[in-house]
Amino acid sequence: SQQGEEDPQALSIQEGENATMNCSYKTSINNLQWYRQNSGRGLVHLILIRSNEREKHSGRLRVTLDTSKKSSSLLITASRAADTASYFCAYNTGANSKLTFGKGITLSVRP
């Protein structure tokens, strides 16, 4: 399967702590994206990092990409209870617009 793999599958932290989620993939990619899904609702796009970028920031989010290791990490700093959700990485291989999604990580932030 070409599906991405995230780890850990589930993460539980205290409010205020940082949360780090990892994603690995198996093919060459054009870009990698992270999405959040609250309680089985629609996906919210968080951040996109291109294959020629190594790090990107957006507010409390920091994404890194290591194409040599075929891996990416999403760091959420100073977590809040509202960050409780499922997080998915998804990547585009460049052949077309299709995205391949990872299995997802469930993040719980305890107040």
Binding site: Q3, N30, N31, Q33, Y35, G40, R41, G42, L43, V44, H45, L48, F88, A90, N92, G94, N96, S97, K98, L99, T100, F101, G102, K103, G104
Partner: protein, 113 residues
Amino acid sequence: SAVISQKPSRDICQRGTSLTIQCQVDSQVTMMFWYRQQPGQSLTLIATANQGSEATYESGFVIDKFPISRPNLTFSTLTVSNMSPEDSSIYLCSVGEGRDTQYFGPGTRLTVL
């Protein structure tokens, strides 16, 4: 970013029946996609909805089971035909331009009894 709506937001259906899900975008977009998310699982691409031509289906999905229409650049429908309980999932449409960000609708939660 595009604003996407889906109808219905949820439905409970009897096995053997069909349900058509609508996806409406507030602007013209080139690419529209349909995904399925089975309970507790990740998203799997069903097909790319092509305007003016037949949809492009991914491996494991066929037109007879998931017919798709895309009459213009802002609207698409996905029909789940002859449903069984295994079709119980969230169905999501998304839109994108080029190889960049895809934006997702709120999803349709389908339960088949």
